[in-house]
Structure formats: structure tokens, C-alpha cells
């Protein structure tokens, strides 16, 4: 039995961030800038939409045939000397990683960005076993030093201001007090992490793509941290969700063209590293394949496409709700639109507010490089949640009442008349009272003297 997760109420969790007029517009602007860079990159390729269709078709094919591709991958990776492990869930993944570390009497690991290890809570698990875990991606190191979690899957520290980074680095890395120049702070982190790289005993990475045909792995970074982390120690542990597979080596072309363009508006990441087998006969490459709910997600025709996700974060950058409420308001490893689809599959009750943290604008669906119909899936989740009886009674009741009224035009006319008349006659303080959520920040419409139906009766019949 896993411990029940706390219930995330997105509107409440978002309130502090969204009403902070220093932070919310700043955060919005930073992510809009990334979204705009993505648009410019999409413009450079006349085949952009064609690539999206290709990526979607490749993923649909792969997920359908996942069992076979996993076995093909395992066979080829093993033939090259890698050790392939299978984990049913997060706990097993963590146990496997710990076991490998114990066998090597490891005290220190360096880790590059992996949303999977975040999902599994690997850091805390290993730290509880006395192992020092150093996140080497700059953004992840910042949140790690601050005792936080990433608020974005590609830009982990996007919610933190440079002055705050400066304070954190002053405290932990001894940078000058008050210093907040990103160049200076990055240089300080470089120096600090060089030491960590050199003393890292095992390198842990995530995986962007795994290739069934060759048994290889692809890891994409801009900082070069994954490569430094696994090129010094003799042991490389690569942790991946089972959905990360592509069938063939050449399929990587489609995804490496889309990934960085969608994620950060770069034509490709600085380093796109391809690992086939361990570094040399004295080295080890362990690949941990993790299910943790993915096979269950695959069973659902409604949500299966969510397994297409290549974790680019474009849906977050474009989401007007995410940009204004910040990633932590989702209370989940993966925030934003894709997170709001994935999180309720883990626990519908805990994450029931996330599918409603969405205005159904559809921008995520259009931006997604692998064509996940995100806003349709969020809508589908709402139906599931209602079906499971997880919507509060007040909301289902108001919808039942509305439905009752809309089936009875005379009642609709009557209710409308009462509403408009009271709006006209009652004092403003009463119609715009604090119980009226709409009216906290907005005026109600000015009630007209007659409805269109009345006008039509007078003028056209």
C-alpha cells in the first residue's frame, strides 16, 4: 500500500503566486519568451506540421507494439554489454538503483536531469540511505540547494529570480553577497559542480530516447552535464520510462528535430549523445526500464496518446494558466497540461482539481510536437472524475439544476427574468457580494430591459 497523496487544490495552491504582481507577470513573460523562440524555430521548417504528424504516427505505432519493441531493445542493449533492469513501479526502480550503488559501495552520485527519477522520488530515497545525490543540471542544482522541487520539466528553476539564486549561492557556494549576475552565478556553479563531477562515483541520467533496433540510448543536454557525469565514473545508470522507445535509429531524426525546437526554441540541444553499450570492458551501463502506471495508461484508449510525450515542456510554456500560476501549484512532478493529464492517472482523487485548472483554450494541443490532444484529454478527465463521483456536490448540483432549467424554456425565461430584474433593482453591494465569485474582480453584465426573445416577438412576429 502506498501512502495516500494529499489532495491538490489548484486554485488555492495557485493563489499566492498568481496574485503576486511582481512574480506572476514576470514568470508569464519569461515563458512567453521561450514560446516565442519556439515559434521562430517552427517557422524555419516548412515541414513542421509534417514532422509533428510523423512523430505522432511513430509514437502511436511504438506504443501499440510496445511489448515487442521493449524485448527487441533489451536484446540489443544486452548484446552490447548493457544490463537491462525492469521495474514495475517507483519503489522497485529506487531499490534497483540503490542495489547497484551498494554493489559498488557508492557514496556519491552525480545525476543529470531525469523527470523519471523525480517521479520516483529517487533523490530522497537515496539520501535516506546515506548516499549524496548531486543534481548537476544548473536549474536542478538551484532547486536542490533550496530544498525545492523543479517547477518545470525543462526549466526547473524558472520560478526563481536571479536575486534568489544569488542568495542561495551565497549561502551554499560562497558567492559574493548580493551578487545576482547570471554569468557570475553560472561560473560559480561550474566551479562547484566540477568538483562534484570529479568525485562522482556513479553517473545517473535520464533518457530522452531509446532505440529498439540498436539497443542504444540518446540523452540531450545543453550544459554537457549528463556527458561529464557519465564519462568520468565507470558506472552509468540510465533510468527511463518504458514509453521512451523509438523503433529505429533513423526515427531519431524526427524527434531530435522537434524536441529542442519545441522545448527551448533551439534548433537542437548543444549535445545529443548516443550511448550504445558501456564505455569499455571495465565499465558498466545499467538501464532501468520503469512502468509505474504506464502500462495501465496504455490500456486506456482515451488517454493512451499521453504516452507520446517527449517531455519538451512546450505545453507548459504556452499554457496561460501554467504561466500565471507557476509549476508548483500543480503539486505534481510534471505540471502544466501534460501533468494535468498524467497526474490523475496515478491518483484521481488527489489530482482531481488539475483537469479543471484549464480554460480549454487548446493552445497546448496545437503546440505539442507529438500531437497529444491535451485539451480534449483534460475534458475527458472531467467526465471520468464526474463518473467516479469526485466532483464536489455543489458543482454537480448546479449542473443538474442548469440542465433541468435548459430543458424547460418557460422556466429558463422565468429564471432569467428574476435574475435580470434583481440585478437591476437590488443594490450593487448585494449583487456583487463576496459570495459571488464572479463579482470579486468583475462587474456582472448590465441587465437589458428585454431579452432577444422578447425583442423578436415584438419586432418580427
Amino acid at each position: 500500500m502506498s501512502i495516500p497523496l494529499p489532495i491538490v487544490d489548484h486554485p488555492t495552491a495557485a493563489r499566492k503566486f498568481v496574485t503576486d504582481d511582481q512574480r506572476s507577470p514576470w514568470h508569464d513573460q519569461a515563458l512567453w519568451f521561450v514560446r516565442s523562440k519556439r515559434d521562430k524555430q517552427a517557422d524555419t521548417l516548412p515541414e513542421w506540421e509534417y514532422l509533428r504528424s510523423m512523430a505522432s504516427a511513430i509514437k502511436t505505432h511504438t506504443i501499440a507494439n510496445l511489448g515487442n519493441y521493449l524485448q527487441e531493445f533489451e536484446k540489443n542493449a544486452t548484446a552490447q554489454g548493457a544490463v537491462v533492469h525492469w521495474a514495475a513501479d517507483a519503489a522497485e526502480h529506487n531499490r534497483i538503483v540503490l542495489q547497484i550503488l551498494k554493489e559498488h559501495q557508492t557514496l556519491r552520485i552525480v545525476k543529470s536531469k531525469s523527470m523519471l527519477t523525480e517521479e520516483c522520488g529517487l533523490n530522497h530515497f537515496l539520501e535516506d540511505s546515506g548516499i549524496e545525490v548531486v543534481d548537476t543540471d544548473l536549474g536542478e542544482r538551484i532547486v536542490q540547494l533550496r530544498g525545492e522541487t523543479p517547477s518545470h520539466i525543462v526549466l526547473p528553476a524558472i520560478h526563481i529570480k536571479k536575486e534568489e539564486v544569488g542568495e542561495t549561492f551565497h549561502e551554499h557556494l560562497g558567492t559574493d553577497k548580493g551578487a545576482s549576475d547570471p554569468k557570475y552565478l553560472t561560473e560559480a556553479a561550474r566551479g562547484h559542480l566540477r568538483g562534484k563531477f570529479l568525485s562522482g562515483e556513479v553517473g545517473v541520467t535520464g533518457v530522452n530516447f531509446a532505440i529498439a533496433e540498436t539497443g542504444g540510448l540518446v540523452v540531450c543536454t545543453n550544459e554537457g552535464n549528463a556527458d561529464l557525469g557519465v564519462s568520468l565514473p565507470r558506472v552509468h545508470i540510465a533510468c527511463m520510462g518504458i514509453e521512451k522507445l523509438v523503433p529505429r535509429f533513423r526515427d531519431l531524426a524526427v524527434f531530435t528535430r522537434l524536441l529542442a525546437r519545441s522545448a527551448t526554441g533551439q534548433p537542437i540541444t548543444s549535445y545529443t549523445s548516443h550511448f550504445h553499450g558501456p564505455r569499455d570492458p571495465e565499465s558498466e551501463l545499467h538501464i532501468v526500464l520503469v512502468d509505474n502506471g504506464r502500462t495501465r495508461l496504455r490500456d486506456s484508449p482515451e488517454f493512451r496518446h499521453a504516452l507520446h510525450c517527449i517531455r519538451c515542456g512546450a505545453c507548459m510554456n504556452t499554457c496561460p494558466v501554467y504561466r500565471r500560476s507557476g509549476g508548483h501549484s500543480y503539486g505534481a512532478t510534471v505540471p502544466g497540461p501534460i501533468g494535468s493529464v498524467l497526474s490523475p492517472t496515478r491518483d484521481p482523487k488527489s489530482y482531481k482539481s488539475l483537469p479543471y485548472a484549464c480554460s480549454l483554450c487548446g493552445s497546448c494541443t496545437d503546440v505539442c510536437p507529438v500531437k497529444i490532444p491535451l485539451h480534449h484529454q483534460l475534458l475527458a478527465w472531467r467526465k471520468e472524475l464526474v463518473g467516479k463521483g469526485l466532483l464536489p456536490w455543489s458543482k454537480t448540483f448546479s449542473m443538474k439544476a442548469a440542465s433541468f432549467m435548459f430543458q424547460r424554456p418557460r422556466l429558463f425565461t422565468f429564471v432569467g427574468k428574476v435574475g435580470r430584474t434583481s440585478l437591476r433593482l437590488l443594490p450593487h453591494w448585494l449583487t456583487h457580494n463576496p459570495m459571488n465569485t464572479w463579482a470579486k474582480t468583475r462587474e456582472l453584465p448590465e441587465p437589458p430591459k428585454e431579452t432577444f426573445t422578447q425583442w423578436h416577438k415584438r419586432n418580427r412576429t
Binding site: 466532483l391 449542473m399 456582472l444
Partner: protein
């Protein structure tokens, strides 16, 4: 050809002039428009909350009321998208009345653009206007090309409204960001909704627009609520009112 006007519930109750302008506009283009009695709502508020059981009877009622018309025209992209793209689960796939109504319900500008193929208008609206593109009009009905998409599409709303004489378009910096209305989202997430709305209004004001126009009155109801509360220097108008050359009020 028989053409029915569908007036969304909130327009009937709160914005009758939008419906009057729509009717007058269609009539001025020679369309004989009927307004079937008994119509209320397309069911979207219930559907978007996830309440299928409550949506079904409202959707079925809608199809019954409009089944006998050759076309249904609606001055809302969002309600039209509901009928066209989200009714399937409430009907048998081979239900002829459902098939007919869902494929023959048009958003007003779309109807002018694709069906009537309007090429000129004699009205005038000599003002600086900026377009707020409703998300459902844009990304569900595809009335234009969204800024994310690289599928080239004409902007049907802008094309038809541009036929009005003397109109001066102003383009906001973010061409198609959501206003934050989102139906029940506006009250489920009031703070986020408000922030989104304020940002849209500021963008339109900053580029010098006098009138924030949209083909969806629901977005405008939310934006107008904020504008009136904050006494912001901009007005909202539905595109039907602009096409009929209504004065700014």
C-alpha cells in the same frame, strides 16, 4: 433555404443587441432567418464540467429544435464548436438529425465567409479595432490559423469584419492568447482567470485599440466585467455589432 438563428442563452438574456445585430446583418444580406422558439442552451457548461448525463438531454433537445433547418447560424464560436465537435457522444453515429445539425451549424462569420461568400458590406465602423480571437473559434472551429500551428489558414473572422468600411485594425502583441473566461473556469479559478483577462485587456489598450472585438460574447462578458470594474479605457463589441456599424457604447 431555411436558416435558423441560434441565440446562446447568455446572449438572449444579457446581450440582446448582439442577437439583433446578427439577425439584421443576415437579413441585410438577403437571408430569411427564423428564430425557432423554445431554444435555450447548447449544453456546453455541463459538458465542460464533465457532466455528461446532464448534457445529454439538452443536446438532444437542441437537435430536435433545429433538425428541420438547412442551416443554423450562431453568433458564438464556442457554442458552435460544442454542437459541431462535442455532440457525438450523445447520439448514435447514424442519427441523421444529429449528423445534419452538427455539420450544418455555423458560427456567424464562418457562415458569411464559407456559405454566403460575402464580398462587400455597406456599413461603416471608423474606429481602431483589435480582434480577440476566441479559443474555440480558433482552435476548434479553425476560423483562423492559431499562432502555434503552421497549417496555413485564412482568418475568416478578420476577413469578413474587414469588409466593413473605414475599420482600422490594431494588432495586439499576443495575437490569440486566451482571455481566461473558459466557462466555469472563470469561477473555479477566479484569480488565474482574472490575471489572464487583465493581461489581455492591457495588451489591447497598449497597442492603442478603442474597441476590443470578438466573435464570442462570452469572452467579452468576462473582459467587460474586468474593464468596467477597473474603469479601463477600452470598450468591447461583438463583431456582429461592428458589422452593423453600431455606435460604440
Amino acid at each position: 433555404m431555411s436558416v435558423a438563428l441560434f441565440v446562446p442563452c447568455y446572449i438572449d438574456q444579457f446581450y440582446p443587441d448582439v442577437a439583433v445585430a446578427t439577425l439584421e446583418l443576415l437579413e441585410s444580406l438577403g437571408v430569411d432567418v427564423e428564430f425557432p422558439s423554445g431554444q435555450t442552451c447548447c449544453g456546453q457548461p455541463m459538458a465542460n464540467t464533465g457532466c455528461n448525463a446532464e448534457t445529454a438531454p439538452v443536446a438532444r433537445r437542441f437537435v430536435e429544435i433545429f433538425a428541420d433547418y438547412d442551416a443554423v447560424v450562431c453568433p458564438s464560436g464556442s457554442c458552435t464548436a460544442m454542437v459541431r465537435h462535442h455532440y457525438a457522444e450523445y447520439f448514435a453515429a447514424d442519427d441523421a438529425a444529429f449528423q445534419h445539425v452538427s455539420t450544418r451549424t455555423f458560427e456567424l462569420c464562418e457562415y458569411l465567409h464559407d456559405e454566403l461568400k460575402v464580398e462587400q458590406m455597406h456599413t461603416s465602423f471608423p474606429h481602431k479595432v483589435s480582434l480577440h480571437q476566441s479559443c474555440h473559434g480558433l482552435r476548434e472551429l479553425r476560423l483562423g490559423q492559431s499562432s502555434e500551428s503552421r497549417v496555413v489558414r485564412e482568418n475568416k473572422v478578420k476577413n469578413v469584419v474587414s469588409l466593413v468600411n473605414d475599420i482600422q485594425w490594431i494588432t495586439p502583441e499576443r495575437s490569440d492568447e486566451c482571455c481566461g473566461f473558459g466557462g466555469t473556469f472563470a469561477v473555479n479559478e477566479p484569480e488565474v482567470s482574472t490575471e489572464m483577462g487583465r493581461a489581455r485587456i492591457a495588451d489591447h489598450i497598449n497597442v492603442g485599440s478603442e474597441v476590443l472585438a470578438s466573435a464570442d460574447m462570452s469572452c467579452l462578458m468576462h473582459l467587460q466585467g474586468l474593464i468596467r470594474r477597473e474603469k479601463s479605457p477600452i470598450k468591447v463589441m461583438h463583431v456582429a455589432q461592428i458589422m452593423m456599424g453600431r455606435p460604440i457604447h
